[in-house]
Amino acid sequence: MRPGWGWSLLLLSGALLAATAMGETALPFGQVLKVLANQLAGAHYPLDPIDVGIVWNYRLPRALVAAACGAGLAICGVILQALLRNPLAEPYLLGISAGASTGAVLVSVLGIGGGLISLSVGSFLGALLAFTLVIVLARASRASGSAGLIILAGIASSQLFNALTAFVIARSANAEQARGILFWLMGNLSGVRWPAVALAVPVALLGLGVCWWQRRALDAFTFGADSAASLGVSVRQLQVLLMTCAALVTAVMVSLVGSIGFVGLVIPHAVRLRVGPGHGLLVPLSALAGAVFLMAADVLSRQLIKGQALPIGVITALVGAPVFAALLLHGSHRR
């Protein structure tokens, strides 16, 4: 794996550089390099401070958060698919993002929390609530032994939270508020700065680390939870640890950038097609692929339509929904 790590870092750095070089306005690539040289290597190129600010304080943190978010959501998809034994499991489909949106809307439109709670905290709490709901439903239906029910429960839960969100917006928000919230709901990285990086990157690395450490235990779930138990995995402990990890990572990411779907679904499947189901490769490569995918989606969202930024969730859904459909068809075909 040694040469593999090197290539991965190179690819990630290349993607970060590309994402930093592209944005709303056209900055010459040379300028971008000079800014980075000044900031990172102590060079002293004379530069317009606005250009420096744009590259170093707007675009670079944005690219880093997109990478961290993509990696984190992909890892959550890996965890959920392994533990729930269902290839369709991912945080968005299980309603966690929807819960986060409801939390955000309750805070910003209804003013719940009296201005003491920010949008991000509201969405964080909403995400955790939705995750708890899914876990409770998962445990309740475990007796009937169907992981497919979890997915249905998650979809029902996400519909519930989405309906709540729509209700609050329709009843209480004026057009401007509604627009602001809706844009956030579909994924918005425009307000991201270095403090967000300080939160997103460590959380993503933590999720990656925990998942990597447990890669053999995750493999042991291949034939089900009982099989994992007979292979020496403390099933309940592992489920609690990994589900909590997935909940926290998803909640943090959604609270920072809004609701972005399908990353946790598409990326692990794409990676599995290339390297197989073994988590030793699946975990780190999903993180890498997720990071690059979301950075690309972010750049695309700003460049696709001239002068207007699309929400990132639109881009990921445009890619993800057809993949989801293909997976469903492929699955039913084989049966």
């Binding site: 944005g23 709303e24 306005t25 317009d48 401070p49 606005i50 420096v52 600010g53 744009i54 170093w56 304080n57 707007y58 675009r59 910003s108 439109v109 003013g111 201005g115 949008l119 209480s172 004026n174 057009a175 401007e176 508020q177 627009r179 602001g180 919230i181 844009f183 956030w184 918005n188 425009s190 307000g191 991201v192 700065r193 700003r302 002068g307 207007q308 930024a309």
Partner: protein, 335 residues
């Protein structure tokens, strides 16, 4: 003692126009935004949806005919405070349909088509007209504007100040206070002329500006004034060019684009509403001065930030206060 020229002219103008004013002939039919409204007599009970309409009523001395107000952005103008205290406030934001008709109004004056219109948040015009309640839409929001495109509507042609004069004159005619309407319009025209003259007097070439209304979150892409809207009209009236090129009334434009455009002035809106943290102009100022990109903008460095009432950026009586404020800034502008 020589009379100051301008007040004298205004006095003369108002005397002249009151000579032209005439009592209203009933039944009166008014063509308003595609509907014909008929009045058999001057209404005695009116409800307003929109602060601009409300303050227009007060300016025309029709405060005693108001039985309900709604949709407020800011505190009422101090000179109308006592009068306003006697009128019931139906809602701070949009009122419900029942609340409005419950006051048994004989006229509903509406500032925005998205309040009462084909996609009206309160109701459609037909709903009111079926109950024999005429709805008067401010022409400034329907003439030359497509309210079904863009979040706040898109202007098909530039905002025409005459639509504001029309609303003053038409309302005055409906309520049989034609002479007051004429006087008010004359006063507005005089103020506009004075402001334009001050701007013309400056030999410096036209400065540029951006008008920042608010943002969903402090660091995310702001809502700024687009081309052809009311805010844009204010800028053009005093010879300032808008750096934003979108024709939406209040598009979202990224800070990167605005920073690169580097306008000479930044106009920020002051309002009482606190739905978004950025509603508070102090927070807007703090952001501009601390953000690593915006603090390097010329307007921020040279403290060319103008704080204008949110209502002055809409088609309302305060528009002229705004114009005067901008004219002053323009006059003193030195690059």
């Amino acid at each position: 003692m020589k009379l100051p020229a301008y007040p004298a002219l205004a006095l003369l103008a108002s005397i002249a126009t009151s000579a032209l004013a005439a009592p209203t002939q009933y039944p009166l039919t008014v063509q308003n935004c595609g509907k014909a409204l008929t009045f058999d007599q001057a209404p005695v009970r009116a409800v307003t949806i929109g602060q601009a309409g409300t303050e227009l009523f007060y300016a025309l001395g029709l405060g005693d005919r108001l039985v309900g107000t709604s949709l407020w952005f800011d505190a009422v103008k101090p000179e109308y405070a006592a009068l306003n205290a006697k009128v019931e406030r139906l809602a701070n934001n949009e009122p419900s349909f029942e609340a409005v008709i419950g006051k048994r109004p004989q006229l509903v004056a509406v500032q925005f088509e998205w309040m009462v219109g084909p996609q009206g948040a309160v109701g459609t015009r037909e709903q009111f007209h079926d109950l024999n309640i005429p709805t008067y839409l401010m022409p400034s929001d329907c003439v030359g504007k497509d309210n079904l495109k863009g979040a706040d509507g898109t202007r098909l042609q530039a905002f025409d100040i005459n639509t504001l004069y029309t609303s003053v004159l038409e309302l005055a005619k409906i309520f049989d206070v034609d002479h007051r309407g004429q006087a008010l319009v004359a006063d507005y025209k005089a103020r506009l002329a004075r402001a334009a003259a001050r701007a013309q007097a400056s030999a410096v070439k036209a400065p540029t500006a951006v008008v920042w209304f608010s943002s969903a979150a402090l660091a995310t892409d702001p809502f700024v004034a687009g081309q052809q809207g009311v805010a844009d009209y204010l800028l053009n009236a005093v010879g300032i060019r808008n750096v934003v090129t979108s024709t939406e009334e209040w598009p979202t434009v990224g800070w990167e684009t605005l920073a690169k455009a580097n306008p000479d002035f930044i106009v920020i809106a002051r309002m009482e509403r606190r739905r978004f943290p950025a509603d508070d102009y102090q927070k807007k100022l703090a952001f501009l001065k601390s953000d690593p990109v915006t603090r390097n903008m010329d307007a921020v460095k040279h403290d060319r930030i103008l704080i204008v009432d949110a209502d002055a950026l809409q088609a309302s009586t305060r528009l002229f206060d705004g114009i005067e404020q901008l004219a002053e800034a323009r006059e003193h502008y030195r690059p």
